[in-house]
Symmetry: C2
Subunit: 116 residues, 2 copies
Amino acid sequence: MAVQLRPAQALRLWEAVLLEMVRTAEPDLSARQMTILLTLYLETHAHTVRGLAERLGVTKPVITRALDSMGRMGLVTRKRDPADRRNVLIQRTVEGALFVERLGDRVAKKAAELPH
Amino acid sequence: MAVQLRPAQALRLWEAVLLEMVRTAEPDLSARQMTILLTLYLETHAHTVRGLAERLGVTKPVITRALDSMGRMGLVTRKRDPADRRNVLIQRTVEGALFVERLGDRVAKKAAELPH
DNA sequence: TTTAATCGGTTCGGCTCCGAAACAAACAGG
DNA sequence: CCTGTTTGTTTCGGAGCCGAACCGATTAAA
Protein backbone atom coordinates (compact mmCIF):
# COMPACT_ATOMS: atom_id res chain seq x y z
CA MET A 1 0.00 0.00 0.00
CA ALA A 2 1.39 3.38 -1.02
CA VAL A 3 1.92 6.13 1.55
CA GLN A 4 -1.12 8.35 1.87
CA LEU A 5 -0.14 11.89 2.81
CA ARG A 6 -2.31 14.88 2.05
CA PRO A 7 -0.57 18.18 1.21
CA ALA A 8 -1.74 19.78 4.46
CA GLN A 9 -0.35 16.84 6.43
CA ALA A 10 2.87 17.01 4.45
CA LEU A 11 3.34 20.63 5.45
CA ARG A 12 2.68 19.90 9.12
CA LEU A 13 5.15 17.05 8.96
CA TRP A 14 7.78 19.19 7.26
CA GLU A 15 7.40 21.98 9.78
CA ALA A 16 7.54 19.66 12.79
CA VAL A 17 10.75 18.00 11.64
CA LEU A 18 12.42 21.24 10.59
CA LEU A 19 11.52 22.90 13.86
CA GLU A 20 13.06 20.08 15.85
CA MET A 21 16.18 20.27 13.68
CA VAL A 22 16.55 24.03 14.07
CA ARG A 23 15.96 23.92 17.79
CA THR A 24 18.36 21.10 18.55
CA ALA A 25 20.79 22.11 15.79
CA GLU A 26 23.06 19.18 16.51
CA PRO A 27 25.17 18.79 13.40
CA ASP A 28 23.62 21.71 11.55
CA LEU A 29 23.50 20.53 7.95
CA SER A 30 22.51 22.68 4.99
CA ALA A 31 20.03 21.36 2.43
CA ARG A 32 22.92 20.42 0.16
CA GLN A 33 24.81 18.62 2.88
CA MET A 34 21.71 16.76 3.96
CA THR A 35 21.02 15.72 0.38
CA ILE A 36 24.56 14.44 -0.04
CA LEU A 37 24.39 12.51 3.20
CA LEU A 38 21.06 10.88 2.31
CA THR A 39 22.29 10.03 -1.18
CA LEU A 40 25.35 8.35 0.28
CA TYR A 41 23.37 6.27 2.72
CA LEU A 42 20.40 5.40 0.50
CA GLU A 43 22.12 4.75 -2.83
CA THR A 44 24.48 1.98 -1.89
CA HIS A 45 26.82 2.04 -4.89
CA ALA A 46 30.19 3.81 -4.69
CA HIS A 47 30.06 7.60 -4.95
CA THR A 48 32.57 10.08 -6.37
CA VAL A 49 32.78 13.84 -6.11
CA ARG A 50 31.89 14.27 -9.76
CA GLY A 51 28.92 11.95 -9.54
CA LEU A 52 27.49 13.79 -6.56
CA ALA A 53 28.05 17.16 -8.24
CA GLU A 54 26.09 16.02 -11.30
CA ARG A 55 23.31 14.53 -9.21
CA LEU A 56 22.80 17.71 -7.21
CA GLY A 57 23.42 20.03 -10.15
CA VAL A 58 26.23 21.93 -8.38
CA THR A 59 29.92 22.50 -9.00
CA LYS A 60 32.67 20.25 -7.73
CA PRO A 61 34.04 22.63 -5.08
CA VAL A 62 30.65 22.60 -3.44
CA ILE A 63 30.92 18.86 -2.97
CA THR A 64 34.53 19.06 -1.82
CA ARG A 65 33.68 21.64 0.82
CA ALA A 66 30.56 19.79 1.93
CA LEU A 67 32.62 16.61 2.35
CA ASP A 68 35.23 18.61 4.26
CA SER A 69 32.77 19.87 6.81
CA MET A 70 30.85 16.60 7.06
CA GLY A 71 34.21 14.87 7.46
CA ARG A 72 35.00 17.15 10.39
CA MET A 73 31.65 16.16 11.88
CA GLY A 74 32.62 12.52 11.46
CA LEU A 75 29.70 11.77 9.14
CA VAL A 76 31.73 10.63 6.09
CA THR A 77 35.25 9.60 5.09
CA ARG A 78 37.18 9.75 1.83
CA LYS A 79 39.41 7.14 0.24
CA ARG A 80 41.36 7.08 -3.01
CA ASP A 81 40.00 4.60 -5.53
CA PRO A 82 42.76 1.98 -5.89
CA ALA A 83 41.54 1.07 -9.38
CA ASP A 84 41.70 4.66 -10.70
CA ARG A 85 43.67 6.81 -8.32
CA ARG A 86 42.17 10.01 -9.71
CA ASN A 87 38.85 9.12 -8.13
CA VAL A 88 37.93 9.66 -4.52
CA LEU A 89 35.39 7.29 -3.07
CA ILE A 90 33.18 8.63 -0.32
CA GLN A 91 32.63 6.20 2.50
CA ARG A 92 30.05 5.92 5.22
CA THR A 93 30.83 5.99 8.91
CA VAL A 94 29.11 4.51 11.92
CA GLU A 95 28.36 7.99 13.20
CA GLY A 96 26.86 9.01 9.86
CA ALA A 97 24.70 5.90 9.73
CA LEU A 98 23.41 6.63 13.21
CA PHE A 99 22.64 10.23 12.27
CA VAL A 100 20.64 9.14 9.21
CA GLU A 101 18.88 6.48 11.23
CA ARG A 102 17.85 9.02 13.86
CA LEU A 103 16.49 11.28 11.13
CA GLY A 104 14.37 8.47 9.68
CA ASP A 105 13.00 7.59 13.09
CA ARG A 106 12.27 11.24 13.80
CA VAL A 107 10.32 11.77 10.58
CA ALA A 108 8.40 8.52 11.01
CA LYS A 109 7.53 9.45 14.59
CA LYS A 110 6.28 12.89 13.57
CA ALA A 111 4.24 11.31 10.79
CA ALA A 112 2.58 8.93 13.22
CA GLU A 113 1.69 11.87 15.48
CA LEU A 114 0.01 13.85 12.69
CA PRO A 115 -3.67 14.68 13.11
CA HIS A 116 -5.91 12.83 10.70
CA MET B 1 -6.37 7.00 10.16
CA ALA B 2 -2.87 8.11 11.15
CA VAL B 3 -0.15 8.44 8.56
CA GLN B 4 1.87 5.23 8.24
CA LEU B 5 5.45 5.99 7.25
CA ARG B 6 8.30 3.63 8.03
CA PRO B 7 11.73 5.18 8.81
CA ALA B 8 13.19 3.86 5.55
CA GLN B 9 10.32 5.40 3.60
CA ALA B 10 10.72 8.65 5.52
CA LEU B 11 14.36 8.86 4.49
CA ARG B 12 13.52 8.19 0.82
CA LEU B 13 10.85 10.85 0.96
CA TRP B 14 13.18 13.36 2.59
CA GLU B 15 15.90 12.74 0.06
CA ALA B 16 13.56 12.98 -2.93
CA VAL B 17 12.14 16.32 -1.83
CA LEU B 18 15.51 17.79 -0.84
CA LEU B 19 17.05 16.70 -4.13
CA GLU B 20 14.32 18.40 -6.11
CA MET B 21 14.77 21.55 -4.00
CA VAL B 22 18.54 21.64 -4.44
CA ARG B 23 18.33 20.97 -8.16
CA THR B 24 15.66 23.58 -8.93
CA ALA B 25 16.87 25.97 -6.19
CA GLU B 26 14.10 28.44 -6.94
CA PRO B 27 13.83 30.60 -3.85
CA ASP B 28 16.65 28.88 -2.00
CA LEU B 29 15.52 28.88 1.62
CA SER B 30 17.63 27.78 4.56
CA ALA B 31 16.21 25.43 7.16
CA ARG B 32 15.52 28.39 9.43
CA GLN B 33 13.80 30.39 6.74
CA MET B 34 11.70 27.41 5.72
CA THR B 35 10.70 26.84 9.34
CA ILE B 36 9.68 30.46 9.74
CA LEU B 37 7.65 30.40 6.54
CA LEU B 38 5.83 27.21 7.50
CA THR B 39 5.15 28.52 11.00
CA LEU B 40 3.64 31.69 9.55
CA TYR B 41 1.36 29.81 7.19
CA LEU B 42 0.37 26.94 9.47
CA GLU B 43 -0.06 28.72 12.80
CA THR B 44 -2.68 31.26 11.91
CA HIS B 45 -2.39 33.64 14.87
CA ALA B 46 -0.38 36.86 14.60
CA HIS B 47 3.38 36.49 14.77
CA THR B 48 6.06 38.83 16.09
CA VAL B 49 9.82 38.80 15.70
CA ARG B 50 10.33 37.93 19.33
CA GLY B 51 7.79 35.13 19.24
CA LEU B 52 9.43 33.54 16.24
CA ALA B 53 12.88 33.87 17.81
CA GLU B 54 11.70 32.05 20.92
CA ARG B 55 9.94 29.36 18.93
CA LEU B 56 13.03 28.59 16.85
CA GLY B 57 15.47 29.08 19.70
CA VAL B 58 17.53 31.71 17.84
CA THR B 59 18.39 35.37 18.38
CA LYS B 60 16.35 38.28 17.08
CA PRO B 61 18.77 39.37 14.34
CA VAL B 62 18.38 35.95 12.79
CA ILE B 63 14.64 36.50 12.47
CA THR B 64 15.05 40.07 11.25
CA ARG B 65 17.48 39.02 8.54
CA ALA B 66 15.38 36.04 7.53
CA LEU B 67 12.34 38.30 7.19
CA ASP B 68 14.45 40.78 5.19
CA SER B 69 15.46 38.19 2.62
CA MET B 70 12.06 36.52 2.49
CA GLY B 71 10.55 39.97 2.08
CA ARG B 72 12.81 40.58 -0.91
CA MET B 73 11.54 37.28 -2.32
CA GLY B 74 8.00 38.51 -1.81
CA LEU B 75 7.12 35.69 0.58
CA VAL B 76 6.20 37.81 3.63
CA THR B 77 5.44 41.41 4.63
CA ARG B 78 5.81 43.35 7.88
CA LYS B 79 3.42 45.76 9.52
CA ARG B 80 3.53 47.77 12.73
CA ASP B 81 1.07 46.61 15.32
CA PRO B 82 -1.35 49.54 15.72
CA ALA B 83 -2.26 48.40 19.25
CA ASP B 84 1.35 48.33 20.49
CA ARG B 85 3.59 50.16 18.08
CA ARG B 86 6.70 48.44 19.36
CA ASN B 87 5.56 45.18 17.83
CA VAL B 88 5.93 44.20 14.22
CA LEU B 89 3.36 41.79 12.85
CA ILE B 90 4.47 39.49 10.08
CA GLN B 91 1.95 39.06 7.33
CA ARG B 92 1.41 36.48 4.64
CA THR B 93 1.43 37.20 0.93
CA VAL B 94 -0.25 35.54 -2.03
CA GLU B 95 3.14 34.55 -3.39
CA GLY B 96 4.16 33.03 -0.07
CA ALA B 97 0.93 31.06 0.16
CA LEU B 98 1.49 29.70 -3.33
CA PHE B 99 5.05 28.73 -2.45
CA VAL B 100 3.92 26.83 0.64
CA GLU B 101 1.10 25.21 -1.31
CA ARG B 102 3.53 24.00 -3.97
CA LEU B 103 5.75 22.53 -1.27
CA GLY B 104 2.86 20.61 0.24
CA ASP B 105 1.84 19.25 -3.15
CA ARG B 106 5.42 18.28 -3.90
CA VAL B 107 5.90 16.35 -0.66
CA ALA B 108 2.51 14.63 -1.01
CA LYS B 109 3.33 13.65 -4.58
CA LYS B 110 6.70 12.20 -3.62
CA ALA B 111 5.04 10.30 -0.78
CA ALA B 112 2.52 8.76 -3.15
CA GLU B 113 5.34 7.65 -5.45
CA LEU B 114 7.25 5.89 -2.65
CA PRO B 115 7.84 2.17 -3.04
CA HIS B 116 5.86 0.10 -0.57
C1' DT C 1 7.62 63.31 34.69
C1' DT C 2 11.19 60.40 35.07
C1' DT C 3 12.82 55.91 35.07
C1' DA C 4 12.78 51.25 33.61
C1' DA C 5 11.44 47.65 30.52
C1' DT C 6 10.32 46.00 25.98
C1' DC C 7 10.41 45.75 21.00
C1' DG C 8 12.56 45.51 16.40
C1' DG C 9 16.52 46.94 13.97
C1' DT C 10 21.45 47.96 13.16
C1' DT C 11 26.47 47.69 13.83
C1' DC C 12 30.58 45.11 14.36
C1' DG C 13 34.35 41.75 13.68
C1' DG C 14 34.58 37.10 12.50
C1' DC C 15 33.38 33.19 10.03
C1' DT C 16 31.50 30.44 6.11
C1' DC C 17 30.13 29.77 1.63
C1' DC C 18 29.96 30.81 -3.41
C1' DG C 19 31.55 29.78 -8.43
C1' DA C 20 35.21 30.56 -11.90
C1' DA C 21 39.66 29.69 -12.65
C1' DA C 22 44.01 27.67 -11.91
C1' DC C 23 46.29 23.65 -10.18
C1' DA C 24 48.54 18.91 -9.32
C1' DA C 25 47.98 14.12 -9.87
C1' DA C 26 46.58 10.28 -12.50
C1' DC C 27 45.18 7.98 -16.62
C1' DA C 28 44.83 7.17 -22.02
C1' DG C 29 46.37 7.06 -26.59
C1' DG C 30 49.55 7.72 -30.10
C1' DC D 1 57.74 9.74 -23.95
C1' DC D 2 54.27 13.47 -24.82
C1' DT D 3 50.02 15.33 -25.47
C1' DG D 4 45.35 15.66 -24.00
C1' DT D 5 41.73 14.39 -20.83
C1' DT D 6 39.78 13.51 -16.42
C1' DT D 7 39.49 14.01 -11.36
C1' DG D 8 39.56 16.27 -7.06
C1' DT D 9 41.47 20.22 -4.64
C1' DT D 10 42.91 24.96 -3.86
C1' DT D 11 42.86 29.93 -4.64
C1' DC D 12 40.54 34.23 -5.11
C1' DG D 13 37.51 38.21 -4.47
C1' DG D 14 32.87 38.83 -3.27
C1' DA D 15 28.73 38.01 -0.84
C1' DG D 16 26.00 36.52 3.10
C1' DC D 17 25.25 34.97 7.67
C1' DC D 18 26.45 34.74 12.73
C1' DG D 19 25.61 36.43 17.75
C1' DA D 20 26.80 40.10 21.19
C1' DA D 21 26.18 44.55 21.94
C1' DC D 22 24.13 48.77 21.10
C1' DC D 23 20.39 52.10 19.32
C1' DG D 24 15.92 54.49 18.76
C1' DA D 25 11.13 54.19 19.45
C1' DT D 26 7.42 52.93 22.34
C1' DT D 27 5.10 51.56 26.43
C1' DA D 28 4.69 50.74 31.46
C1' DA D 29 5.77 51.76 36.12
C1' DA D 30 7.07 54.69 39.87
